[in-house]
């Protein structure tokens, strides 16, 4: 892993899901995805700390977090309130809230992508690859 490897921040309160994402990404056929450094945060607070201390390329963001809705973090990122002076990461909402109004809210909050739970491993890899390639 080099310093040039992309960095992904996984904001997810469920350990099982964190394990899953990491396992999926680590086994991805696409090298950029496979080699990405995956940071994790189990709450919005932890995510803010991570985002202000280092550059992140992609945030995989859960909605139902213990200290609030993930969308608030998306808005903060879009407004530059979090991670000021850092590279602006892409934000993909990864959530089990899949109703049309949930999706609309995510886009409103400035999310760049949307991944419904449950997802197939290939979908996750594809979404991550797509957003990493944009950087």
């Amino acid at each position: 892993m080099t310093a040039d490897n992309p960095r992904i921040l996984l904001v997810e309160d469920e350990e099982l899901n964190r394990t899953l994402v990491k396992a999926v990404l680590a086994r991805a056929a696409i090298a950029a995805v496979r080699d990405a450094e995956v940071l994790d945060a189990s709450s919005l607070g932890a995510a803010r700390t991570q985002l202000s201390s280092q550059d992140v390329d992609l945030v995989l963001l859960d909605m139902n977090l213990p200290d609030g809705n993930g969308l608030s973090l998306a808005s903060e990122l879009a407004a530059g309130k979090v991670g000021a002076g850092r590279r602006k990461p892409s934000v993909v909402a990864v959530t089990a809230s899949v109703l049309p109004q949930d999706r609309a809210a995510a886009i409103e909050a400035g999310c760049d992508g949307f991944l419904d739970k449950p997802y197939a491993a290939a979908d996750l890899v594809a979404v991550v690859a797509e957003h990493l390639s944009k950087r």
Partner: protein, 894 residues
């Protein structure tokens, strides 16, 4: 000319008074109304006096006696006016009597003085006039103060009456002044009239005329004037009715009653309307607080209507007296019919202690106005009904909207909740598919399998909760209610959850008093398990749970408290709603989010209630109240113990009480010993059927107790069970304990083990002996009997077979070479019988007579020995040999 005019005035006054008097007399004669009589009496002096004056003026000679009588009556007028006032308002009795006394005291000197009067007798006139004026002023004051409590025409009439009374007093004052000033002049100039006399005479005559007009207006207004009065009152009633801010039909009637009371000056007014059954029932009442009747007898009222005039309440009929009599005893009651458009007819009851100046005609008019109130009330009730309907409609629309929103929210949440475990299942299984195949297998990380399994279980839990919730919602949840010992049920649950408790190093404090609920066992466990697992979830490592059960009157109460994060007050109601996960942000995964919602519904389905008391940072306490059950000694549990005696060696009184209660409930007789020594003594004095033993005891410990028990031949066979906090199972079993239970004790397990060992204790083994040789048979029989067995002995296999089919035996001792049916044939036949197939058989082969005898004797001896050992089928078992060995093995294994 002057004389002509002067005589015209008293003539006019006289005419007026005469008319008033005649009308009053006629009115009184027609109705015999006491008020009318008193009015007549007030008019009488005036009428007489002006008749007298008219006679004087027209120079008709009047004898002295006429003068005296006229004066007597005239000076009674103030007193009579006071009497009239007393008819209209409350007047203290002493005023009445004083007025009479003043009249008699002051008028007597004048009336019985010399006629014609001499100049020095002027004081007689002065005294009489002073008395007259004094009483007249009192009467006027009484009338005026009454007037001030009334409104409208009534007030005007009473004020006029008061003013007229004063004028009348003034008139008499002038009369007196005229007479007094005339006396000396007439004495000196008998032929010459007093120069001022004419002026006095003219003045008092004019006053007399004014008085007659005043009294006319006040007490006997002409029809046109009365109409004017009642028209203005009626208008005022109508206006006030329409102006009143009323919300409902009841209020309309109440307002009407209030207005009627003010307008008529009645003490109380009741408005009656017909009910569906035709009886009149009070619909409104204004007046002093009284008991209002439910209904009024129709006969009484009809009678009152027919009477058409005020009647004494006591004469008003039973119903009236019964309902109003106690509180309004002295009143007059007037009943007025009140037609209410379109077709009903109510009534107005007026209660008066004192009479009103309104004529009955006027009152009837007011009652007719009640019809207006009826229309208003009708309209009001329609409006009220419409309003109510509108409110109901809008609230049901609101409720429907809320329900619909709740449903949508539920579905959205449900979708979310189902997707979460599915994500792990699909995700990890997807990963597995990508792993390198190894033939028809794949090598995958064991964790992934675990994750899928855990998520699958979670999903199943979720689905089960949803189904349960749906069942409760649809009212399809069937509860099998039965008396349930909740303290033991909770204890069992705690035992089941102990791995979780240990993992988080949670301390559990139990305060489980015996309590029996009427509950569904499965659902009760579900309720408490939800509360316990929540408590475990939200309590940090090393925390403490407190679980209590207690009887609460006719109910039972289960409380699960933790010292965890607690729930904010504003969230405390929400925790019972679906998918509401509140509280600590750093919480662990909070289950399905349905647990408490389901728990609440399950509790409610039992007819119970659930609530939470909590403070942030200080933990939460969830309490469930369920209906209790009458504790009946259950037959099955009683039979389990069968009255067997258990010695409980336990030093902690609370644990001892719990165990004792549980055991007694299961039908055991329990003796408790607080120390190991006491336990040994008790066991030695009276060997129990089983011993339940704690390890940590004051003095010698439980292990030493069992060692000594096993060393004592008499006590060694008593089954011993450990029930202790100390987890030294292997040591306990090695020392010969039958079983080892770690606290919290799984009650069902302990009772099961106890029941098995007590059931294994043979009451008296039944043995069937089959031998054709009388001597040998007798020897075996004696040997077995000596060992305490119940023996049936038969000579041949045929009888033996019949006997074995007839009843159950614990052992069959059989000569294998019996002549008629030999042992082998008998065994073969018994093999076919389900009831005898498993009965152990001891076969005796007598190849040599002596050997058989020895064998027989040995058998009997061993059996006898086993019996003497007291219980212990174990020792008997190997002897029973041949068959049923597997049973024996089971029992023998530690």
């Amino acid at each position: 000319m002057r004389d002509g005019l002067g005589s015209l005035v008293p003539l006019a006054a006289e005419c007026m008074f005469a008319v008033l008097f005649v009308r009053a007399v006629v009115g009184y004669l027609r109705r015999r109304d006491p008020l009318q009589r008193d009015v007549t009496l007030v008019f009488l002096p005036c009428t007489l006096w002006f008749a007298f004056i008219t006679l004087v003026v027209t120079e008709v000679p009047t004898p002295t006696s006429v003068t005296v009588i006229t004066q007597t009556v005239l000076f009674a007028q103030p007193y009579l006016t006071v009497r009239l006032a007393a008819r209209l308002r409350a007047v203290p009795r002493w005023i009445n009597w004083s007025s009479l006394a003043v009249y008699v005291g002051t008028a007597t000197p004048l009336l019985f003085g010399p006629h014609p009067m001499r100049p020095e007798g002027w004081w007689r006139w002065a005294l009489a006039a002073a008395g007259f004026i004094l009483v007249e002023v009192v009467a006027a004051r009484l009338l005026l103060s009454k007037a001030q409590t009334r409104t409208g025409a009534n007030r005007a009439r009473l004020t006029t009456a008061a003013a007229t009374t004063l004028l009348f007093g003034l008139m008499v004052a002038l009369l007196a002044a005229g007479s007094i000033s005339r006396l000396p002049w007439e004495a000196m100039n008998p032929q010459e009239p007093h120069p001022l006399a004419d002026n006095f005479i003219a003045a008092y005559r004019v006053l007399g005329l004014m008085c007659s007009i005043g009294y006319l207006i006040a007490f006997a207004p002409p029809r046109w004037l009365r109409r004017l009065f009642s028209a203005s009152t009626a208008q005022s009633v109508s206006e006030r009715m329409l102006r009143a801010q009323v919300e409902s039909a009841e209020e309309v009637w109440q307002t009407y009653a209030d207005i009627m009371r003010v307008q008529t000056g009645a003490d109380a007014v009741a408005v009656l309307m017909p009910r569906k059954d035709g009886l009149l029932a009070p619909i409104a009442y204004a007046g002093p607080r009284i008991r209002t009747p439910e209904e009024l007898g129709f006969d009484d009222l009809t009678q009152l209507i027919r009477a058409g005039q005020p009647a004494r309440l006591r004469e008003g009929g039973d119903a009236l007296v019964e309902h109003y009599g106690d509180d309004l005893g002295d009143d007059f009651v007037t009943l007025l019919s009140m037609p209410v458009p379109p077709d009903s007819e109510g009534a107005v009851l007026l209660f008066n202690r004192h009479r009103s100046l309104f004529s009955d005609d006027d009152l009837r008019l007011f009652a007719l106005l009640g019809g207006q109130a009826g229309i208003l009330a009708e309209r009001m009730s329609v409006v009220t009904a419409q309003r109510r309907l509108a409110t109901e409609l809008s609230s049901s629309v609101e409720a429907l909207t809320r329900a619909s929103q709740a449903k949508s929210a539920f579905l959205a949440n449900m979708s979310h909740e189902l997707r979460t475990p599915l994500n792990a299942i699909i995700g990890f299984s997807d990963l597995m598919r990508q792993e390198e195949p190894d033939g028809d297998r794949r090598l995958v990380p064991a964790d992934w399998v675990e994750h899928i399994h855990t998520s699958g279980r979670h999903l199943l839990g979720l689905i089960n909760d949803i189904l349960d919730l749906a069942k409760v919602e649809a009212g399809r949840l069937e509860l099998r209610l039965a008396p349930l010992r909740i303290d033991t049920a909770v204890q069992e649950l705690l035992t089941g959850l102990s791995p979780l408790l240990i993992t988080k190093s949670l301390t559990v404090v139990t305060e489980l008093s015996p309590a029996t609920a009427s509950a569904d066992r499965v659902r009760f466990r579900q309720i408490v398990e939800n509360l316990l697992s929540n408590a475990i979830k939200f309590t940090p490592e090393g925390g403490q749970l407190t679980v209590s059960t207690v009887r609460d009157g006719e109910n039972v109460l289960v409380t699960v408290a933790d010292d965890g994060v607690g729930i904010a007050v504003e969230d405390q109601e929400r925790v019972f709603e679906e998918f509401q996960q509140v509280g600590d942000p750093d919480r662990q995964r909070a289950g399905t989010g349905l647990g408490l919602a389901l728990t609440k519904r399950l509790v409610e389905a039992h007819g119970g209630e659930i609530w939470v008391r909590s403070e942030l940072g200080y933990g939460s306490a969830f309490s469930v109240r369920l209906p209790g059950a009458v504790v009946v000694q259950s037959l099955t549990s009683t039979s389990a113990g069968q009255g067997a005696r258990v010695l409980l060696v336990e030093d902690d009184p609370q644990s001892a009480e719990l165990l004792q209660t549980q055991l007694e409930h299961a039908g055991y007789q329990v003796d408790v010993a607080g120390t190991g020594e006491a336990g040994l003594t008790a066991a030695g004095a009276r060997p129990p059927d089983a011993i339940v033993l704690d390890v940590a005891l004051p003095g010698i410990d439980g292990f030493e107790v069992i060692r000594q028990l096993k060393a004592d031949r008499r006590l060694a066979d008593i089954p011993v069970f450990f029930a202790t906090i100390i987890d030294e199972r292997q040591a306990g079993l090695a020392l010969g304990a039958r079983d080892y239970f770690v606290k919290p004790v799984d009650q069902a397990a302990l009772l099961g083990a106890l029941a098995r060992s007590v059931a294994a204790r043979p009451a008296a083994p039944r043995v069937l002996v089959v031998d054709h040789d009388d001597t040998i048979r007798q020897a075996i029989e004696d040997g077995l009997r000596a060992g305490g067995a119940d023996v049936v002995a038969v000579a041949d296999g045929h009888d033996g077979l019949a006997m074995s089919r007839e009843s159950q035996f614990d052992l069959i001792v059989c000569d294998m070479q019996s002549p008629a049916v030999d042992g082998f044939s008998m065994l073969a036949a018994m093999e076919q019988e389900p009831s005898t197939r498993r009965t152990p058989v001891l076969g005796l082969a007598s190849t040599a007579g002596e050997a058989s005898l020895v064998a027989t004797a040995m058998a009997g001896g061993i059996v006898a020995d086993a019996m003497a050992g007291g219980a212990g089928s174990e020792k008997l078992a190997p002897l029973l040999g041949v068959r049923g060995a597997e049973d024996v093995d089971e029992k023998e294994s530690p």
